[in-house]
């Protein structure tokens, strides 16, 4: 029987050429959403089909791939995409941020600072930041053409009028290179400052919506705000319960039905790295000790 044979990194060459041309245009026009002929992938929409196509178009045999889902290397989505490329492209995979050359992410930017030899690929569900304000594509396209972004400021203002502060906590809109307003994908706004002036190239792929966009390295990325209500990244006011980190983004984990909870780093690689380096939090397990053999 013939074993099923796939092209390197799954996609056929014509598709890769089409995606590669879109990526080059996306880099040349920072923040602009380039339409592309998104393909069906062997996974459902919403599981990262856009990010997977971008990764498949750039990945080479020398790359080391890391995939995270909400900061974690160990969730179903991250593991299945990592295995997908290990199988179809034979690339080396890692969970260590600084060893990776290509990092595909669903909604987090690693805590460890990225460097110039890395590409960060975002999975994007809704690439159009204005879509919930204006459902018509023809209109949002015109608004981008005219750089008419008043509507977005009205939305943020309504947050202030209703809640007293800008309550948008994720997918917080940014302006790229002082021109295009862009959806940073549903990352927590805690991560927005990491997009600004990053040494790494950032690529965004939306499979269902068929858009690719990019932030080149060393590009100005500003979170929208008001003079009297400046942008503020949000973080639970607690150290990580496992590694004690005071400056990482935290997940809240409910531990019983009596209201107890713990806060742990969302970036598992960062947290494990810190624990291995000897940092401990309030709920760290005591180091495992061999029992002394009993003589008797």
């Amino acid at each position: 029987m013939n074993a099923p044979a796939y092209n390197f990194a799954y996609l056929d060459e014509q598709t890769k050429r089409m995606i590669r041309r879109a990526i080059l245009k996306a880099i040349a026009i920072p923040g602009y959403q380039v339409p592309f002929a998104s393909r069906e992938m062997p996974m459902p929409y919403g599981w990262g089909t856009g990010g997977v196509q971008v990764t498949a178009a750039i990945l080479g045999p020398a790359d080391v791939l890391k995939v995270i889902d909400q900061g974690s290397d160990d969730t179903t989505n991250a593991i299945s995409i990592r295995k997908f490329f290990a199988k179809t492209a034979g690339v080396a995979t890692t969970t260590a941020t600084d060893e990776a050359t290509v990092i595909q992410t669903r909604h987090r930017i690693p805590e460890t600072a990225l460097h110039a030899n890395q590409v960060l690929v975002y999975q994007v569900p809704i690439p159009e930041p204005l879509r919930f304000l204006e459902p018509r594509e023809t209109e949002t396209r015109r608004m981008h053409a005219l750089a008419e972004y008043g509507l977005m400021h009205v939305k943020l203002y309504e947050d202030i009028a209703r809640f007293g502060h800008i309550a948008t906590a994720y997918a917080y809109p940014v302006k790229v290179n002082a021109r295009y307003v862009m959806d940073p994908s549903p990352t927590p706004k805690f991560d927005n400052p990491k997009m600004d002036n990053s040494p790494a190239l950032q690529l965004f792929g939306a499979g269902r919506e068929k858009r690719i966009y990019a932030i080149p390295p060393y590009t100005k990325v500003v979170s929208l705000d008001f003079e009297d209500h400046p942008f503020e990244p949000y973080r639970f006011n607690a150290p990580c319960a496992l590694c004690g980190a005071e400056n990482s983004y935290l997940d809240e984990i409910v531990t019983d039905d009596k209201g107890s909870r713990m806060f742990v780093c969302s970036d598992t690689d960062y947290c494990e790295g810190r624990q291995a380096a000897g940092h401990h939090g309030s709920l760290s397990a005591a180091p495992y000790k061999e029992k002394a053999p009993s003589h008797g």
Binding site: R17, R20, R21, I27, P35, P199, Y218
Partner: protein, 202 residues
Amino acid sequence: MTTIAELPPGFADKVLSAQSTFRSVMDAMARPGSVQRIVPMAGTAGPMMRGTAAIALTLFDHDTPLWLDAGMSESADVLKWLKFHTGAPVVQDSSIAAFALIGDGAALPSLERFALGTNEYPDRSTTLIVQVDSLDAGRSFELRGPGINGVATLQASIKPLDLFERLRMNEALFPRGIDVVLVADDAVVAIPRTTRVVNKGS
């Protein structure tokens, strides 16, 4: 008369060579002014340089109308090679071209004659691939813009001599504009529409 069997070959390994070439071009586009090397080599036809041939094999296909300058389009070998290896249609009207191959920059037509994209679809523009004499010696140019950490310095011997003056129109046109890929043998430098030349010495 060259028959198909006598045509210079494409990539020995289509898949991995195209990937490696693309990463060089992507890095060049993401870091304007930086000189990237194209490693995999293919045969070249007529006045095409090695880098140009590799880029053609990597990015051109039936979806990308090509415009060729006089030196390229007069070479039957170039036309045959492109047709056989890429299948890209060669067009006479530069304003509908996805890519333009410029073998001799001295004869570069006015940039307004290429597709500049629209404000709604700025991506529908022509990418110029311009062959130049050198990307490591010659006049020095200081570049600024996205992808550049402060200032990048490019030393290059480029024709037309006023290429960067002509590209200044990108500033007023943005987000419309022209992206340029400079090729010298196996070296590649990209000048996307966001890059500004701030100073140049001799």
